[in-house]
Amino acid sequence: MSANNESWGSRVGLILAMAGNAVGFGNFLRFPVQAVQNGGGAFIIPYLVCFLLMGIPLLWIEWSIGRFGGRFGYHSTPFILNSLDKRRFWKYLGVFGVWTNIAVAAYYCYLESWTLSYVYHSLVGSFSDLSQTQIAQFFNDYVNLSVSTSGIPYEPIFFFVVCLALNTWVLSRGLSGGVEKVAKIGMPLLILFGMFLAFKGFTITAGEDGAINDSSVGLNFLWTPNFDSLWSPKVWLAAAGQIFFTLSVGMGSIQCYASYMRSKDDIALSAMSAGWMNEFVEVVLGSSIIIPIAVGYLGIDNVIELTKSGGLGLGFRTLPYLFYQWGDLLGALSGVMWFGLLFFAGITSSLAMGTPWMSFLMDEFKWKRESAAWSFGIIVFVLGMPTVLFFNYGVFDEYDYWSGTVSLVVFAMIESILFAWVFGIDKGMREINAGSDIQVPNIYRFIIKYITPTFILLVFLSSLVTPKDGNWDEALSGNWVLDDSSIIRKITNAGLKEQITAATDAATKANLEDTLMFVNGSRLLLVVLFLSITYLVYVAYNRRLKEGEI
């Protein structure tokens, strides 16, 4: 008898938890940057096409796979996948759906702890008299353990532990008593804070509070469509990648959440509602905050430069300074709202990352919920500490690359093939439509079987052999030089090794060699984690065999 008797409290709670799982930092920090770098307003065309052809089908696949597995008492992907096809290897492929969540949580909770810390710093006014350079330096000091920005010793570790403890405590309260309650509070607050900041983003006037541009300049910069970009594979791949990461598909958390539903209850409409809620937060709110505000105060050229390193720098190194252009009170309030909304976006996602591991332990090893939650907290702490201690040595990026990028695509490819080709599209469509409150258009039979797996395969292949600087035109014309971010170059550390060879300064060389060591070390940790979960799945499978449950 499983110790797992979790359930959702209400349908709205489930949808908010699913939407909260999808809404993350990327909605506010990644999407607008991707849009300005890939055709401006025209980016929305491939983006929405990918949402309809890849995002929604994957949501339906994951919701229905989860609910199907839940029927047999399975709530984590190793055994959920195995319920769709009896061949043993599926459950080992399902390990991705537990491993990814733990590995992503290890660095994601650290990122989440930054937002918690920045809420605190906004409240106590740490940013009020700092210049733009000083605020950028504040962030550098924060991630560098040798300097404390608040007087708290080892401040990043302190906030990381607080953040993890909070996640663990909520998880220990269960789905309806913890996760769902946080989603019901966090999602409305996130939208409220987002609407306030979007309003500010829309009402900047040049000459007021130090602004050099009206909001319209930033909005023009973001939304003016460059239709020529639609012919570039880079733009389509960026759109597909953004859809992938924004919906949290390919992780195993959606399947886990859906596994606590009964087969007569709707998934088709609920998945659509949660998916579109994420799109609202990303497209409407996400596009209305950082770019218009940053362009309003810094100008387009500076923003182009800042977005080269992604949205993270803009969000943490620049926005706190810009908020204080509105005065001390509004600056502090806006800081609390901005980092507060990022915190809610983060915690609703990290809670979803905890549930697959907990469900696995509760189903297979009869662990109590509280013990399972604490085991998640401890594992994430152990795995996450290297990202805190060796942040400047690329450990954080390494985790993000393998578990937060490559693994999602691989697992989504596995499950889409399993669902459409092995389980069978006829049974699959029946499963999606079972208990449905809306009729899923029949065209999705074709899309799920052919288009979605093809899209995912293209995303994977493009990551495998990404051409230098994402220049597909040159690559397709015959001059295919691999970028350092391509899987092939990344796995061999080719870029890093070339930097070491080219380094002339002894200190730089030593630093790069240390980075190489930490990169390999972090990969080793990830591999050990994967193998450990695989072993546990093997033990659980044998136990089920012995007890005659399989």
Binding site: W8, G13, P225, D266, W276
Partner: protein, 48 residues
């Protein structure tokens, strides 16, 4: 703001907002299924 950018922005934002609200209202207006369903808040007796 130039007309093209404004049109693309308004069309996108309004469309996404309308579709989001439409699906959420559909969820709210759909009557709950007879018990036992997936949700514990409407249970007559608390779950173990």
């Amino acid at each position: 703001m130039n007309t093209l950018a404004l049109s693309v922005m308004l069309f996108t934002m309004i469309s996404v907002t309308v579709v989001t609200i439409y699906f959420f209202i559909l969820v709210l207006k759909t009557p709950p299924r007879p018990e036992p369903d997936s949700y514990s808040e409407n249970d007559d007796e608390p779950r173990p």
